[in-house]
Assembly symmetry: C2
Homo-oligomer: 280 residues x 2
């Protein structure tokens, strides 16, 4: 497995693979890999012959005061995990390689980026779309895999790829959960023992919603109230949002007609966790 | 010469050329071609083996009330001119092909897009960067040629390409002028006979500035005043701006140290014309 740190070397490697007739599958990550990331790598292998994983904690998707500096990093471990999964190349650039001092260009997705997580993180998604556009232009994959855990991100990336005509097929892979149901996240590392115990109630609140929806309830406000009550009773979490949107457009949910994205964000102490499910 | 109207066909054509070992040179235009455009095509031929010209009046770079509907179009003539220049493919898509109803994604270049022409056309450059990003992803050229007439556009495109890591070499080709010095522009067609006669004074004001600069004058305000006086004496034009910026960054001009972009925009009747020169 090659570890590539510069943009020209990454480009050359990809060009070489393509000219040898190999398709490239790409999994962009911020490192500190867990089973969720590994599931994306395995999914990518189903669709492409050579796999690139990028490991880069992208500063433009963090706002001042967020956890950019604290974000967990362990490149040696990530490298071993990638090698064990049969990854062909890890792209591991520095900040200096990725952002010039004179950088001015951002990719925006208008109101898609202001909903859900965009309310409390107004510059987050423009950072995400910008770095993904950059990485697509550097790695030039035919296929890229994103996790459904970041549901809004997946919707936004699909929109960007279609709108800007990137020649990349986007695949969204299911959420991977711990044994007790907590969605895997590099940020779970921040949780105290008690917060970790409480955090399982995010998924339980989603399960409760799915159960209510399956039983025929279409009053989304009633479902939200049930979820809030469950979280308030069992945790000290501060709910950032519990929202229902159209699962493809992030627009107004139409539970009688189209799949609904139910997304939750909540703070356990200082740690903000997200999770979601599709109601259909 | 092939005329291609759909994105998948354009992609296939480019892929075919590349896999046959041919490099692609690209000249994006809004059609109604003149000698300025043809000079870009000739420049592109020096750098690439196959030439694509796009002809598309991009709606997102026009604001409401601007001249989108009036913008001159003559595809048959453009097609003949391209064929005569040895262009290999003309990409001529419809609006429906280029912008989906659910389009949300734009490429922005922050304050670069708010200076000079961005003051009177605040959404213009995000339309330009967005369509150029789309066209680059569709045509996948190795080289693209832009005209120095749109100096701010050329600077912004270079910034975008570097910031988003597009694998495209950008070439800027010199301004082509009519015999009397007026910079060629599809919008010159809008001018009345009298406006056409007056419009030559834009270039004369730039010549005056170059002469003053060559003679050692570094007081840019004094140069601006000379230009304004010349235009006011000889035309009924309304000056939109006469501005001096750094020729690479659009930042503060440093006439003692670095090339200065001197850019002019003025209205002759309803027609807004732009022109520029480099002082060094």
């Amino acid at each position: 497995m090659k570890v590539i740190k510069t943009i020209p070397q990454m480009r050359d490697w990809s060009r070489q693979q393509n000219s040898n007739g190999f398709s490239i599958g790409f999994v962009p990550t911020m490192g500190y890999l867990h089973e969720g990331h590994l599931s994306l790598i395995r999914e990518a292998k189903k669709h492409a012959q050579k796999i690139v994983v990028s490991i880069y904690v992208n500063p433009t998707q963090f706002a001042p005061g967020e956890d950019l500096d604290a974000y967990p990093r362990d490149f040696k471990r990530d490298e071993q995990l990638c090698a064990a999964e049969g990854v062909d190349a890890v792209f591991y650039p520095s900040n200096e390689e990725m952002y010039l001092p004179q950088h001015k260009t951002f990719v925006i997705t208008e109101e898609l980026a202001t909903k859900l997580c965009g309310q409390s993180r107004p510059t987050h998604f423009r950072g995400v779309t910008t770095i993904v556009a950059k990485l697509f232009n550097i790695v030039q994959p035919q296929v890229a895999v994103f996790g459904q855990k970041d549901a809004q991100q997946a919707i936004i990336i699909r929109r960007m790829v279609e709108d800007l005509n990137f020649p990349v097929q986007i695949i969204t892979a299911p959420i991977v959960r711990e044994a007790d149901g907590l969605a895997m996240s590099s940020r779970n590392k921040y949780l105290s023992i008690r917060e970790r115990q409480e955090a399982v109630f995010i998924n339980r609140s989603l399960e409760l919603a799915r159960k209510s929806f399956s039983s025929g309830i279409r009053d989304l406000e009633a479902i939200r109230a049930q979820m809030e009550a469950l979280l308030q009773k069992n945790t000290s979490a501060r709910i950032d949002y519990i929202e229902f949107t159209d699962a493809e457009t992030l627009g107004r949910p139409m539970p009688q007609e189209a799949p609904v994205l139910l997304a939750v964000a909540a703070y356990f102490g200082k740690t903000r966790l997200i999770d979601n499910t599709i109601l259909e």
